[in-house]
């Protein structure tokens, strides 16, 4: 995983390294043309799935397939970054190379400020080898500034929530989860990652607001709360880590690790999650919160109708 690469070397390598491209139903077999052609053709795609040994490069490629970061980030934008970073065992957190690639692309697109929406573990950025440039960019990320209480009139269970203030105030919200097993909800991805931006008391309500005795005694209530919280702010962009993940003993690990070495990116977080269930051996309909998200109109779960573009670096 020693994946030492910076922005300049990536750009340089992109010109040199051949890229194979798969379009449509992922394994769909139709081979596309050049990257230049992709940009004009595929900005309406639903999901970009990129496989590669360099997670940094794969992340940049996935965003490029969606039309590039400038499609999402304007000059002087304030970016809110929600990275699943709390646990530190392999396969339980979004790889810092991925987050670093996103940070770099945001600055290149002209972002003014990047704020972490989760009070990330202090060791997070030390878990990957980053170039000096990327390290400086990571150091520039501001910590969250505090909490705001918001009303959720359309919330089924959660009528009020305490959320990181910057989630509400940022211009661009980028959600960076890792797909993995979860002992309560069975799967975690973009939808569940919103709990990284909620306060402890709101979090407790998710788990025990229905008077459930244990943390996971009422998964239906928990799932409904997750959906309600996602009504507050939908992500501008979701970039999910499917590079290395645990299929058992989630969310904390250690568990059985698999290494699909893929990045899944899209605007629709529900579609990203629906696609991501395959990495833990499940289907979208197996996961209550994904079914509920589809029913609530938060996003699409009809995988067969999504336009998916894949690439291998």
């Amino acid at each position: 995983m020693d994946d030492r690469i910076g922005r300049r070397s990536f750009l340089k390598r992109s010109l040199l390294v051949g890229t194979s491209l798969i379009v449509g139903d992922q394994v769909f077999g139709r081979v596309g043309n050049t990257i230049r052609n992709e940009l004009s053709t595929f900005t309406d795609i639903d999901l970009a799935v990129v496989e590669g040994a360099s997670y940094y490069n794969a992340t940049r490629k996935a965003v490029e397939l969606l039309g590039g970061m400038r499609r999402f980030v304007n000059k002087q934008s304030k970016i809110g970054l929600l990275v699943n970073s709390r646990f530190d065992k392999p396969g339980t957190y979004a790889n810092p190379q991925i987050a670093a690639a996103v940070v770099g692309m945001c600055y290149e697109a002209g972002a003014k400020e990047i704020v972490s929406l989760e009070d990330a573990s202090g060791s997070y950025w030390r878990r990957a080898t980053l170039t000096t440039e990327l390290k400086e960019q990571a150091d520039s990320i501001r910590e969250p500034s505090g909490w705001s209480t918001v009303e959720i009139p359309k919330g089924k269970r959660l009528k009020k929530a305490e959320l990181v203030r910057d989630l509400l105030e940022c211009d661009v919200f980028i959600n960076i989860p890792v797909f993995k097993d979860h002992e309560g909800t069975r799967f975690t991805g973009t939808l569940k990652n919103i709990m990284g931006a909620t306060s402890y008391s709101t979090n407790q309500f998710f788990h025990q607001g229905s008077n459930a005795k244990g943390y996971y005694d009422d998964i239906e209530f928990l799932s409904e709360c997750i959906i309600d919280a996602n009504l507050v702010r939908r992500p501008t962009l979701c970039i999910a880590d499917a590079t290395e993940l645990i299929m058992t003993n989630g969310p904390f690990g250690p568990g059985k690790i698999v290494k699909p070495r893929k990045i899944v990116a899209g605007i629709d977080g529900v579609a990203v999650d629906a696609y991501g269930t395959r990495f833990v051996g499940l289907h979208p309909e197996d996961i209550m919160m994904i079914r509920m998200a589809g029913d609530a109109g938060l996003g699409r779960v009809d995988l067969e109708n999504l336009k998916v573009v894949g690439a291998t670096l």
Partner: protein, 311 residues
């Protein structure tokens, strides 16, 4: 020892900073020297501690394992020490030593967290080595050593570290009898998990959702292509009530079809056609889940042969 003084200071500061809750009210003596279970530099090959050593007690476990702490609580959690060791090659591992309320609780959480595919190694009372971690059960302790980077695992040095820690832990009694029941010398069961509640059940048993059998103690394992579950109750009446309640739930919200209900067994099919079979036997409930009815019946037969030892 200089290191110990540093650790004591760190722990004091940590307690203040994290507002550690007092130890659980249950009258159990904590292993006060949990800190001493962590070898100092030079005491375990080339490993040295390279991060602060944090101790989490009672509800503070949520600070370490938010989203996973309840599972440990279900088994009976007391405290955990966590730190990072790094060897001379720069390979870093996270080491956690969990102290549970008793050896059965520690064995239970060990059995649940042990990932299939790992190999048994001779450390502590039982230990498993996976592709990037080692888990050790000894007495009321679970030791977990996990590579910080799954691609950088140093097998022999990690075993040396595990042994150095294990030597500092008190031993304990045998496995719980339910677990022994499945894991005895003549056992053909694999993936044996000793259960203490619904969360463990949800993690280890996939044939239905929720703790519909009201499990407070049980064991599950795989035999052939079928899965077996034994749930133990205080008496036969409680067992019968739990079975009735489970059948109501399965044939109601969970959409199972009742295939047959005889005096001695109940057979159901789920929506995909898998079979779940229940047989009450005194104060234990025998359960089998399999793709076919024949396989489920074979699993139950296997359990019945051994069950008299438990009554």
């Amino acid at each position: 020892m200089k290191y110990n003084a540093t650790v004591v200071l760190l722990l004091a500061l940590l307690s203040l900073a994290q507002g550690c809750l007092p130890a659980p009210q249950e009258k159990i003596t904590l292993h006060n020297s949990l800190v001493e279970c962590f070898p100092d530099s030079g005491q375990a090959g080339s490993w040295t501690i390279t991060d602060s050593l944090c101790i989490y007690r009672g509800k503070d476990l949520y600070l370490l394992l938010d989203g996973g702490a309840d599972l440990f609580e279900e088994y009976g959690f007391l405290q955990v020490g966590s730190t990072v060791y790094t060897d001379e090659l720069g390979v870093a591992v996270t080491v956690e030593v969990y102290e549970m309320t008793n050896p059965a609780a520690a064995f239970g959480i060990y059995s649940l967290l042990t990932v299939e595919g790992g190999v048994k190694i001779e450390i502590g009372q039982e230990a498993t080595e996976g592709e990037y971690y080692i888990q050790v059960w000894k007495g009321r302790f679970l030791v977990t050593i996990t590579a910080r980077d799954a691609d950088r695992w140093v097998k022999d040095p990690a075993r040396e570290l595990a042994r150095a820690i294990e030597r500092r832990l008190e031993g304990g009694s045998r496995k719980p009898d339910l677990a022994e029941f499945m894991s005895g010398a003549d056992s053909t069961y694999q993936g044996i998990v000793y259960l203490r509640g619904g969360l463990g059940l949800a993690n280890a048993w996939t044939f239905w959702y929720g703790n519909i059998v009201r499990l407070t103690e049980g064991v599950t394992g795989r035999s052939g292509s079928g899965n077996s579950l034994i749930v133990r109750y205080t008496d036969g009446e409680e067992c019968a009530r739990a079975l009735d309640s489970a059948l109501t739930e399965l044939t109601g919200p969970q959409g199972f079809t009742l295939v047959s209900r005889a005096d001695r067994d109940v057979v159901l099919h789920d929506k995909q056609g898998a079979t779940v079979m229940f047989v009450p036997a005194g104060r234990v409930l025998l359960v089998a889940g399999a793709r076919s009815q024949e396989e489920a019946r074979r699993c139950i037969g296997e359990l019945q042969i051994r069950v008299s030892r438990l009554q």
